[in-house]
Amino acid sequence: MIRVQAQDFDVGAEIDAMAAGNTHIGGIASFVGYVRDLNDGNTVSAITLEHYPGMTERRLNEIEQEAQRRWLLEDALIIHRYGRLEPGDRIVLVVTASAHRQAAFNATMFLMDWLKTEAPFWKLEATGDGEHWVEAREADDIAADKWKQKN
C-alpha cells in the first residue's frame, strides 16, 4: 500500500496494523526519514516538498510492486509526506513484513534507495542564505543503481 499525504503518520500504529491478523509474518522492518537541521554545512529551518500528483502515486505503486516481485513479502507500506516540514518532522515511512527477516531488511533498503531517485518529489530548502532547491546526489544514484545490477 502507498500513501501520499501532508499530515504526519504514527509509526507504531502502522506497524501494528500491518501485523494484525497476519500470523504468516515473522518479522517487520521499517525505516523512518526525518528532516535534518544541517545539510551541506547549512542550517536548515524548513523544507517544502513538492511532488507530481498522479505520477507520484503511480511511481510509488510501481516501486512497491518491484519490491514484491523481488522478495517474498507478506505486506509493504510506503507513506511519503509533502508540503512544508521542519527539522525533526517525519518525511517518509517504509514498512515491510515477511516470514523471515532478510527479505524485510533488503526490501526496506531497496524501497528507500529507489524512492530517492525514482519518485517525483523535489525539496525546497530554507536556510539562513535563503531558499534553494536540493540537488540530486550522486551517492543516491549509485545506491539506486546497485539494485539495478543485481536483477
Partner: protein, 83 residues
C-alpha cells in the same frame, strides 16, 4: 497538450502548467524542447542544460526521441529527490 513544470523549472519558466497546441513540426520531446526554448529567456534558461532536465510523458519517464501529440500530458522537472 498539457504541459507541467516542477521545482526550479517552474520558477524559471514562471508558470506551473499550461495548455498548448503543438506546431506541426513538433513530433517528439527533443523538438518540443527546442520550440519551448525559443519562446522567451525564462524557457531558454530553464532548458539550457539538458543533463539537468528530466521529462515525463503521461506520467512515465521518457527519452528525448519519444513521440508526443496534442493528447499528451508532458512534465518537465529536475532530477527527483524523494525520501
Amino acid at each position: 497538450m498539457k504541459l507541467l513544470y516542477f521545482a526550479w523549472v517552474r520558477n524559471k519558466v514562471g508558470i506551473a502548467e499550461e495548455n498548448i497546441t503543438l506546431p506541426d513540426h513538433v513530433g517528439d520531446i527533443a523538438a518540443l524542447l527546442s520550440w519551448l526554448r525559443e519562446r522567451n529567456d525564462g524557457f531558454a534558461d530553464a532548458l539550457s542544460d539538458m543533463t539537468a532536465i528530466r521529462f515525463a510523458v503521461n506520467q512515465e519517464i521518457a527519452a528525448l526521441d519519444q513521440p508526443v501529440t496534442d493528447d499528451d500530458e508532458i512534465a518537465l522537472f529536475p532530477p527527483m529527490t524523494g525520501g
